[in-house]
């Protein structure tokens, strides 16, 4: 597995208050692989993704990026946050351009490329809008362009479409598939929506509920590509896969709510 893009080896993560969120998680994501991480709310999906991003250091175990142990921030990764992460004081074009500017690209060139990216995510004439002037879906599009413009080798996405309505979610899913298919990168996609995970990914990883959450399932999705995130749901094979994964996930969800109640 040394050649994989991201590999987690028996990673355990504890928060400063002593809460052990994830225990001995093993996960290997190959280059060009689209992997979804599914589990009940609060199980530790974001925690695990943050470990892959280098935002949290594991208490035990190791994170390796293209075979090299990760120290500090993961410079090869782009991260799409669950919450709004755009700089509210910069307009859409400046938000998209910032990653290039930080890397020393002259501002004018950075803005030119930002406009190309805004067009790619379907926001051609929205460059001068500030985040508060954009809808939830539009903000996610800007955030996607902001991440992708730097051309990171690994993409980490934390429930990026979580707060969007069902219709927008599916449109965004297709946009993501198109962008990802253009130059397949390693992608870890966190979601609590199993159907979304199956429709988009090559593999679906299931986490147990916390504390001390573990990875309890790893399902290969053998649906053909290119896919349409909407149409694929009508495929009989989609239904089969969903049934078999759901059976396992349900047990965990019930356990999570049982504990909370």
């Amino acid at each position: 597995m040394a050649a994989g893009a991201v590999s987690l080896d028996r990673v355990t993560i504890a928060y400063p208050n002593g809460y052990e969120a994830v225990t001995a998680a093993d996960l290997a994501v190959g280059e060009g692989e689209f992997v979804s991480l599914v589990g009940p709310t609060g199980c530790g999906k974001s925690t695990l993704l943050n470990a892959a991003a280098g935002l949290i250091a594991p208490a035990a175990g190791e994170v390796r990026i293209f075979g090299a142990p990760l120290q500090g921030l993961n410079r090869q990764a782009g991260y799409l946050f669950q919450q709004d992460a755009l700089m509210p004081w910069k307009n859409a074009a400046d938000n998209v351009a910032i990653g290039l500017e930080a890397a020393g690209v002259p501002r004018k060139d950075a803005l030119d490329r930002a406009h190309v990216w805004l067009t790619r995510v379907g926001l051609k004439n929205f460059g001068d809008r500030y985040p508060h002037q954009l809808s939830g879906g539009q903000k996610k599009r800007v955030a996607m362009a902001q991440m992708l413009i730097r051309d990171p080798k690994i993409l980490l996405m934390d429930e990026p479409f979580g707060p969007l309505d069902a219709q927008t979610r599916q449109i965004m899913g297709n946009l993501l598939l198109d962008l990802w298919a253009a130059d397949r990168k390693a992608l870890i996609f966190v979601t609590h929506d199993l159907e979304e995970a199956i429709a988009l990914s090559d593999r679906v990883i299931i986490m147990s509920s916390g504390p001390k959450a573990r990875i309890i399932g790893d399902h290969r999705i053998d649906l053909p590509r290119p896919r349409n995130a909407l149409d694929i749901r009508l495929d009989p094979r989609f239904h089969e896969i969903q049934q078999s994964i759901w059976a396992q996930l349900r047990a965990e969800v019930i356990k999570a709510y049982g504990d909370a109640a």
């Binding site: 990764a77 991260y79 919450q83 700089m87 509210p88 004081w89 990653g99 930080a102 500030y130 002037q133």
Partner: protein
């Protein structure tokens, strides 16, 4: 929302009623007595003609100019100091922890008691008034900038880090704009306090300025002069405030509130 013309006419109505009461009380005898004796309350028409007379000369402009200069200097110096120290304290928790009781103490001190000391140190010219204004402005800006840096959204910050921004770039693209937005949200207050510092300073001892003008009139029981000075001061404050509003609008376009007001 009330329509603008309606609002404006209601606002003017309030002024007309108040001045009307003042006029009747001071100029129309009711049962042989004046309800608002002229010696204590002057009359609107006297105050009006006094203002006209003041503006027919040139000295009033000198006084306004002095007060404006003091206000601006106090605002600029206090703001720069507040921004620098606000940043420094926010980024260095140890410094903040050590100085915390002293900052609180200094801020709790009524600034008026400092005025005589500043006059002793800096003389009766503009700098003692500027110093008084600075002590007021500094703390407002300081606390706001401190808060602005502290309260940067951790998600925005993590995102900026993931986008490859180094410490210097984080300062410029994240901490600085956040601190500025907090500072600008207190712009009205800090400009107001700069003005208070200038006028109170002038009032307590000066040879020029609007505060001095009012104080001088009080010294000879010239109530008309006091009211004329106060009216000019009030108009001055309104104009300064309107300018600040315009600056605020231009600088905070990215804020939801700023756009809704337009």
């Amino acid at each position: 929302m009330i329509a603008r013309p309606t609002l404006l006419s209601l606002q003017i109505l309030v002024a007309v009623v108040l001045i009307g009461i003042w006029y009747i009380g001071s100029s129309v005898p009711i049962f042989g007595t004046y309800f608002l004796p002229k010696f204590f309350f002057s009359t609107p028409q006297d105050v009006f003609w006094r203002i006209v007379k003041m503006f027919s000369g040139t000295t009033i402009w000198k006084h306004i100019g002095i007060t404006l200069t003091e206000t601006m200097l106090a605002f600029v110096i206090g703001s720069v100091g507040g921004v620098v120290f606000g940043f420094w304290f926010a980024r260095k928790p140890l410094v903040a922890a050590v100085f915390d009781p002293y900052i609180k103490m200094a801020n709790a001190l009524p600034r008026v008691v400092l005025a005589p000391i500043f006059m002793l140190w800096l003389g009766l010219g503009i700098w003692s008034k500027v110093a008084l204004g600075v002590t007021l402005v500094f703390f407002i800006v300081f606390f706001n900038v401190y808060q602005g840096v502290k309260e940067v959204s951790p998600v925005v910050l993590a995102n900026a880090r993931m986008l490859g921004l180094n410490e210097r770039q984080l300062f410029r693209h994240v901490y600085w704009p956040s601190a500025l937005s907090w500072m600008f949200s207190s712009l009205h207050t800090s400009v107001g306090f700069a003005l208070v510092g200038a006028v109170v300073g002038e009032y307590l001892g000066a040879a020029a300025g609007l505060g001095y003008l009012i104080h001088e009139a009080e010294g000879v029981f010239d109530v008309t002069g006091v009211f004329a000075g106060m009216s000019i001061l009030a108009a001055f404050v309104l104009i300064v405030d309107a300018v600040v509003t315009q600056i605020e609008k231009a600088l905070l376009v990215w804020r939801p509130e700023a756009t809704q007001k337009n």
